[in-house]
């Protein structure tokens, strides 16, 4: 589904070029579950951002279903993010003034979906994630685990094919973290490809395919996993 070919991402820091990614080749198949691990500054998050079309490679090709997408306009990439990708962040990134339900509804609102259908889909999602009684609570009134579940509900409300999680348990206690991982793995079992960037070896080890990065390069890769190989 996703193929990166010789992808590099260079930043210029103080006039010096720093390569966060340096010639990465990576294929992610539909329904795959892979973890990206490595020390700080190894380029894990940059890779995730490139995968999610949040960032553009400075060299190399990004093929999404065989189509080159790194040259698309910002708006075209935004449209792909809206429909194909879901993001889960370490710090949840919920909008503080909105209730849980409103946060989950945000992508639907951006997609211009009618209020009636929006309310129905949000209610379904909250029910499914065990947040029904938290619908009208604001993020400040929710626990960390609940916040991350709201964020996951938001990430999946548009029915994405790929879920990109950047340190999803990094800001949670052990128990809540385990719940969140269970939730993500459940989604993966339902067919959504799951890419998890993590520091936590325990979390990383759960993935069927593990990628280890050092200095912007993939040092170790278990190879394409057992997702279906379209």
């Amino acid at each position: 589904m996703i193929a990166l070919e010789g992808v590099s991402r260079a930043f210029s820091v103080g006039g010096q070029e720093v390569r966060a990614l340096d010639g990465v080749d990576l294929t992610v198949n539909a329904g795959e579950y892979l973890s990206i691990m490595g020390p700080s500054g190894s380029g894990k998050s940059t890779l995730l951002n490139i995968l999610g079309l949040l960032d553009r490679p400075t060299a190399g090709r990004y093929l999404l279903d065989g189509e080159e997408v790194s040259g698309l306009s910002d708006d075209a990439q935004a449209a792909l993010r809206l429909t194909r990708f879901g993001f889960v962040f370490q710090f949840f990134h919920l909008v503080p003034r909105m209730t849980a339900a409103e946060n989950v509804a945000l992508p639907l609102t951006l997609a211009g979906i009618e209020p009636d259908e929006r309310h129905r889909r949000v209610a379904e999602a909250l029910e499914a994630y065990g947040l029904k009684d938290r619908a009208e609570h604001r993020p400040s009134e929710l626990s960390g685990g609940q916040c991350q579940r709201v964020a996951i509900a938001r990430a999946t409300i548009m029915g994405p094919q790929v879920l990109l999680a950047d340190e999803p348990t990094g800001n949670l206690d052990r128990h809540s973290g385990a719940q969140v991982i269970d939730l993500l793995e459940g989604l993966n079992r339902s067919g959504i490809a799951l890419v998890v960037v993590t520091h936590d070896p325990e979390v990383g080890a759960r993935a069927r395919r593990r990628i280890h990065m050092v200095d912007g390069r993939i040092r170790a890769d278990d190879g394409p996993g057992d997702g279906d190989t379209r």
Partner: protein, 409 residues
């Protein structure tokens, strides 16, 4: 193009989002609303005062009669040249002169005026009163109204009957509670029958109509033993014919006075239009001062929007990560600026009109009224500056790099 990514967020949804964001930091929003509101209220109140002053002056002049020419005997301008060997006294302006002027196609009505102060008496009561000799046409020319009875009858101005129309104060002084119509009063050494009472009009520029007695011009000339007129009021047919009427008056009088230009003609409308222009300019000036405060309010809107964008960087990054296009993000912030300035403008309108209403209550004689163009312009300027100054922060928001924006917490 039917994918959800191409569907657009409606403006209703954008405004709802913006309104929620604004109430999220209501303290700051409120201050901006206040600034915009004060600006719009200032425009409304200042123009209402300017317009009130203009209406007051125009109203005062209109109550004297419209399209008026005032003909005075004697030339007030110095003609230069050596003084005449024999003293050439200006000729009298006569009723016959005025009858001749009436033949001009540009002249609608003519009212001769003879003035003098004589004792007016009824029973044992007597009162020195300004007595005006004129004709039936004085009523429409001076915009007078009757409280009771009739005005002077029509007919040959050189042979008026001995009848009198009294001002309200004169009537009260002479008759008290008794009925006055049909009674005979003594004016100077002649007797006149009271046929009407003037309606009170309060004090206007010129003289009060409450303290006069009006009698036919021929009676007044006999009473004062003066063949000439004090002045004559000429009413032109329309505003456009005033200048033609003035030329006709001058030429007719010159022909009748053997080539001497011995009258002075003043047009009331020229005085009025000068006042009108000055006061309109004044109104526009104060409106402009009000508009400056709106521009300041616009800059405040920009300030609030800039703070809003920098405080909500993470939110903008999130919106972009969720798939919001640049113009959608921009639309959200423009909607926010629009909501801020529109609500501020509406608050200003309410406050402004309330203030105008209070002024109208406190000074009923002063016709304050905010002209609709001022209210519309105030709201338009508020919205325009709000949007104009809101666009820049909104563009900044739209151009934020999502990765960098998300990294900020």
């Amino acid at each position: 193009m039917g994918t959800p990514g191409d569907a657009r967020m409606s403006w209703g949804q954008r405004i709802a989002y913006a309104a929620a964001a604004l109430t999220g930091h209501w303290g700051r929003s409120l201050l901006t609303l206040l600034a915009t509101g004060i600006g719009v209220a200032a425009v409304v109140v200042l123009t209402a005062l300017g317009e009130g002053a203009r209406r007051y002056v125009v109203g005062e002049f209109a109550s004297l009669g419209t399209h008026l020419l005032i003909v005075l005997p004697g030339r007030t301008e110095t003609t230069g040249g050596p003084p005449p060997m024999m003293g050439v006294a200006p000729r009298d302006l006569t009723v016959a002169d005025m009858q001749a002027v009436l033949k001009s196609p540009h002249v609608l009505r003519v009212a001769p005026v003879v003035l003098g102060t004589v004792p007016v008496a009824f029973g044992g009561r007597s009162r020195d009163t300004m007595t005006v000799g004129s004709t039936h046409d004085l009523l429409p020319v001076r915009n007078l109204t009757m409280a009771q009875g009739r005005f002077l009858p029509k007919g040959d101005p050189s042979r008026g009957p001995p009848v009198a129309v009294l001002g309200g104060t004169v009537r009260d002084a002479l008759f008290g509670a008794e009925p006055a119509i049909g009674r005979w009063v003594r004016i100077g050494d002649r007797r006149f029958k009271v046929i009407g009472i003037l309606a009170s009009r309060g004090t206007t520029i010129g003289m009060t109509t409450d303290e006069v007695v009006i009698i036919p011009v021929s009676q007044a000339q006999a009473l004062f033993n003066a063949p000439g007129l004090f002045r004559a009021l000429v009413q032109a047919r329309s505003r456009d014919s005033i200048e033609d009427a003035k030329a006709d008056v001058v030429s007719v009088i010159r022909a009748r006075h053997e080539g001497n230009d011995d009258v002075t003609v003043i047009t009331q409308d020229s005085v009025l239009s000068t006042f009108d222009q000055i006061l309109t300019a004044l109104t526009l000036t104060v409106a402009g001062i009000g508009a400056i405060s709106l521009v300041v309010a616009g800059i405040l809107v920009m300030n609030v929007m800039l703070v809003s964008v920098s405080q909500r960087t993470a939110e903008i990054g999130l919106l972009k990560a969720l798939g919001a296009k640049g113009n959608v993000v921009m639309g959200l912030f423009v909607a926010e600026a629009a909501v801020l300035s529109l609500v501020g403008a509406l608050v200003g309108l309410v406050v402004g009109y309330a203030a105008v209403a209070v002024v109208g209550r406190v000074y009923p004689a002063f016709p304050v009224a905010a002209p609709p163009w001022a209210a519309a312009a105030g709201v338009a300027v508020a919205l325009a500056t709000g949007l104009l100054f809101g666009v820049w922060p909104a563009r900044r928001a739209a151009r934020l790099d999502p990765v960098a924006a998300l990294a900020r917490r």
